[in-house]
């Protein structure tokens, strides 16, 4: 056979195949496809470490209570789920839940209070390494943070349970909003190997959806659970999480209708997506902010001796304030975020309307002011090389950023240029994220840029409390006795108006001290196909409570 003939045959076969394509397309009844960046590792809520894993496990497993979002107050509202109702005792040290008696696991076994005790047991067991490990601070527990079951749980009957919490702590519903897992499935498995063993097992779930198929690195396909009390006939019958690692491919698929919903859209793409009549854009007010950190303490001394000494360059809050004046933050918001974000004033996200201090205004972009402040602090360009000096110190340093994030690269470039205008010479070094974060947590940098996501509900202590050993996220080493006092009071107070007052005072102090330059809050831009109706996007997530959606064909 000659090459010519082979090539003809191949060509013919190709054409034959291609022409047979696109013919078999079954009806996509009530199906919603959600584009995600990377595959999940587990559908089990015990091991849901990432946002996507959390979203998916919450569709599969029900929690004792769920949350709604009060957008007027900017607060979470606890709502019934597995628990129909609950009562606190007088001194708020125990709460009794009435449970639903119509919930069954997908293998037919009924859900009871025993599953709840078992779930809390597993989540807090150090051997299991669950995503919630170490977070049950309000419960009676042993030295390894394992909850003391006898002291904590009283099963009154299979559908009534009382949970005791420690005296003196503020009751927090977040402690109870964990997805419950079936005891009869995991009871006999060695807890140490649970994390591996779980991968081989077919998930037994009780949620609004059932795992129908999981094609590794391709898609996670969920089917509506007809027996669930949450499922509505008009709701989505199938939810598919499709793994598309390349961002631009995700956008392409969104526009083609291959994907119905996608989060984290870059602001630059919004204009062209808006032209698409099938798509709706929803910029969700941000819970994430980027910051430029100027280390308050000297990192080398702290690493070596654990002693806290002020940083040579940025120990003085005047310098930090000058930098905040010098950086055109509004410019970044205008030009990179296309106004899908806002300049940050402090660490309290604008979504927390009740806690936010609305009287504060961001420092304006004012390089002249910055120059004045620096000059008054003794920074002058004596040798006229374009860089400010004070004695032997030169206002020149390396600014580290994690690589692979276009927004931060953009902001860093702007910062470099803006600071150069006031006589500060910075060299940007972009590090691979793993290396960057390891060195950041090890207190190796003088100046760097990263971002935080503010937890829901608001919790500021891990970021701002002065004791660096127990607040691992206060990496810029902010030291303030007054702030410590406020944070301790916030933790204890039970009166909402007083707490609001304390939060305001906290924000004013931080505003004055400029522990870092808060750059901007980034909107989470979500786009979804207009096929999806009744969608309610809140800071809890776009996919949250998706069983309430109505889906047109």
């Amino acid at each position: 056979m000659s090459i010519k003939r082979i090539s003809f045959v191949v060509l013919f076969l190709l054409i034959a195949f291609l022409s047979s394509c696109n013919k078999e397309k079954p009806s996509h009844s009530n199906r919603v496809v959600i584009g995600i960046e990377s595959d999940i590792q587990s559908t089990n809520p015990l091991f849901s470490y990432t946002v996507d894993e959390g979203n998916i496990s919450e569709l599969l497993y029900l929690s004792l209570i769920q949350f709604g979002w009060n957008s007027n107050e900017g607060e979470l509202i606890p709502e019934p789920m597995l628990a129909k109702d609950w009562q606190w005792n007088k001194d708020s040290t125990s709460v009794t839940f009435d449970l639903r008696n119509d919930v069954y696991w997908s293998d037919g076994v009924q859900f009871t209070a025993k599953d709840i005790v078992f779930s809390f047991d597993l989540y807090s067991d150090p051997q299991v390494q669950s995503s919630r490990y170490g977070m049950f601070k309000d419960f009676y527990s042993d030295s390894s943070s394992h909850i003391d079951l006898d002291k904590t749980f009283i099963v009154e009957n299979p559908f009534k349970i009382t949970i005791n919490i420690k005296k003196g702590v503020l009751p927090d519903f977040n402690d109870f909003a964990i997805p419950i897992i079936p005891q009869h499935v995991y009871d006999n498995i060695d807890r140490k190997n649970l994390i591996s063993a779980e991968k081989e097992m077919k998930p037994v779930t009780d949620g609004a959806f059932i795992l129908s198929k999981w094609e590794k690195n391709q898609a996670i396909i969920l089917r509506a659970n007809k027996k669930s009390f949450l499922t509505k006939p008009s709701g989505p019958q199938e939810i598919i999480f499709k793994v598309v690692p390349e961002y631009s491919s995700r956008i392409t698929q969104l526009r083609r209708g291959e994907i119905d919903l996608m989060e984290d859209i870059e602001a630059g793409d919004v204009a062209q997506l808006r032209n698409d009549s099938n798509l709706k854009i929803f910029p969700l007010l941000g819970r994430d902010y980027d910051y430029a950190a100027w280390n308050n303490i000297d990192p080398d001394t702290y690493r070596k001796t654990k002693r806290i000494t002020p940083n040579k360059l940025f120990g003085d809050e005047k310098v930090r304030e000058a930098f905040t004046y010098a950086i055109n933050r509004q410019g970044i918001v205008n030009n990179f975020l296309n106004d899908m974000g806002q300049v940050a004033i402090g660490p309290v996200s604008p979504i927390f309307k009740n806690s936010l201090d609305t009287l504060l205004n961001p420092l304006p972009y004012d390089p002249e002011m910055a120059k004045k402040i620096l000059a008054s602090d003794g920074w002058k360009d004596v040798n006229q090389d374009g860089v400010l000096e004070k004695g032997n110190l030169k206002l020149a340093f390396t600014f580290y950023i994690p690589g692979g994030n276009p927004r931060r690269e953009y902001a860093a470039t702007v910062i470099k240029n803006d600071l150069k205008k006031i006589g500060v010479d910075i060299r940007i070094e972009s590090l691979e994220p793993q290396v960057f974060f390891q060195r950041m947590f090890a207190h190796e940098f003088d100046a760097w840029m990263a971002g935080w996501s503010v937890p829901l509900p608001l919790d500021l202590k891990p970021f701002w409390y002065s004791d660096l050993k127990n607040t691992p996220l206060n990496i810029s080493g902010y030291q303030s006795k007054a702030v410590d006092l406020l944070l301790n009071q916030i933790e204890k107070t039970k009166s909402p108006p007083y707490r609001k007052q304390l939060y305001r005072e906290f924000q004013e102090l931080v505003y004055k001290d400029n522990p870092m330059t808060f750059l901007y809050w980034v909107d989470n831009i979500i786009a979804y196909n207009t096929r999806i109706k009744d969608i309610n996007i809140t800071p809890l997530g776009a996919v949250y409570h998706c069983w309430n959606w109505t889906v047109n064909n």
Binding site: S248, N334, Q384, G403, T413, N417, E429, S430, E432
Partner: protein, 427 residues
């Protein structure tokens, strides 16, 4: 054809035309040099603070633009290469070399210059914006150093310029209102610079458009030529040193050392180079220097094989054995007998490798492990443009074209060298 264009013609032509076009700048650089040396003599300690990379860069390119054409004209008969006739490949290589040396003269602007991003970002090629000039406070120069600083500010392009504003239009009533795309700036009237009662407005042209920061792509391409050449040459040299020295070390004595080095080479070959590169960059950070180092480290294996093979086969040749019998030292054997023979395959290999290194750098940028957008390497520019493919095609096309032409030239050069050493091949 009586008169063919030769290489030295092109070199001198480029230099002269640059000199004519930028004569103002060149003169200013020379006067800057003069002032600088005056300060240097007067007060050494003050002058050294003024030295930075861009100052030296400007000095060198101004000196070179005089020296090179003169040198070439004088040496054109002595050095054969200059009298070769010009073809596409050599023309490209000379242009690239000119970019490399004369970047400050060729480029319009500092590659990192950004101002009024909202007004200038993502402009298509050949577009322009109005430049409104502001008054500057002119401090009288009190001493020589002040004069130097002032002159330096004037000559060396900075990443910002506080005396201009890019805008669409300007209207002056009680205040000066500057209109930009999405915003307007209101300034007191007397901030604007006037000449004959009219505000001074010029136009800034962007030959190849601007990127997402409003930076001039043309200037970035010129400086990018430097970075890309630097990455390519740097890593090729590292490969050369490693490959050749290890090849000798293995091939010449043979035996146990040979076995060890060969196995280590096999080890590197049994793992795709891209993973090795990513591994090292991920583990040890991705600065420009590491990128060069690691690309160099990943490409020495084929050179090693060539050198080792040639050395081993040479060892058995008659002339080599007799040279050794004649008592030539190892060093002499190396330089007189071995090096000339392995030169040809090594050079060819290097040229081809150069092309693949530039490509690899681009791919690394795509995977987020390149030198980052802080150096305008072509690969990084393509990567950045890729995100704006639907909005700003020119961000990909211009660096892409440059990359392609360079690769094309490198390939042709490799082929020509191959032909030169091995004339049996043709076409």
């Amino acid at each position: 054809m009586t008169m063919r264009i030769k290489i030295w013609h092109q070199i001198t032509a480029i230099c002269f035309s640059l000199l004519v076009l930028k004569v103002n700048l060149v003169i200013k650089i020379f006067s800057l040099q003069l002032v600088f040396f005056n300060v240097l003599v007067a007060d050494y300690s003050k002058a050294i603070y003024q030295i930075d990379f861009s100052l030296i860069d400007y000095f060198i390119s101004a000196i070179m633009i005089i020296i090179i054409p003169v040198g070439v004209i004088f040496l054109r008969r002595r050095i054969k290469v200059f009298s070769l006739s010009l073809n596409f490949t050599s023309a490209i290589i000379i242009i690239l070399a000119a970019f490399f040396v004369f970047a400050p003269l060729v480029a319009n602007n500092n590659p990192d210059f950004q101002q009024n991003i909202g007004e200038t970002k993502l402009l298509p090629p050949l577009s322009s914006v109005e430049v409104i000039h502001l008054k500057r406070e002119v401090k009288p120069a009190q001493n020589l150093l002040d004069k130097l600083v002032k002159l330096k500010e004037e000559v060396i392009k900075n990443t910002y310029d506080e005396s201009i504003i890019f805008a669409d239009s300007l209207s002056i009533s009680s205040n000066a209102t500057i209109f930009q795309k999405n915003s307007q700036i209101i300034l007191p009237k007397d901030r604007i610079l006037y000449s004959d009662g009219l505000p001074v407005i010029t136009r800034e042209y962007f030959l190849l458009g601007t990127d997402e920061y409003g930076r001039d792509i043309y200037s970035r391409l010129i400086y990018g030529a430097r970075i890309s050449l630097f990455i390519g040459l740097g890593s090729v040299i590292i490969s050369l040193l490693l490959g050749v020295s290890l090849g000798f070390l293995a091939g010449y004595p043979g035996g146990f050392i040979d076995t060890i080095i060969s196995r280590v080479t096999d080890m590197f070959l049994s793992f795709p180079a891209i993973f090795f590169v990513i591994l090292i960059l991920a583990l040890f950070g991705n600065s420009l220097f590491t990128v060069i180092l690691v690309l160099g480290f990943s490409g020495w294996m084929s050179l090693f094989k060539i050198v080792r093979g040639e050395v081993i086969s040479l060892k058995q040749k008659d002339f080599f054995i007799s040279a050794k019998m004649a008592g030539l030292s190892n060093y002499n054997l190396l330089t007189k007998e071995i090096l000339p023979i392995i030169l040809a395959p090594v050079v060819v290999n290097l040229v081809f490798q150069y092309g693949s290194v530039i490509l690899a750098e681009a791919a690394l940028s795509f995977l987020g492990l390149g030198t980052g957008s802080f150096y305008p390497s072509w690969g990084a520019m393509i990567e950045a443009g890729q995100n704006y493919l639907t909005q700003a095609w020119w961000m990909v096309v211009s660096p892409g074209l440059c990359l392609f032409i360079t690769l094309f030239a490198a390939n042709n050069l490799g082929r020509e060298i191959q032909l030169y050493y091995n004339p049996r091949l043709k076409g």
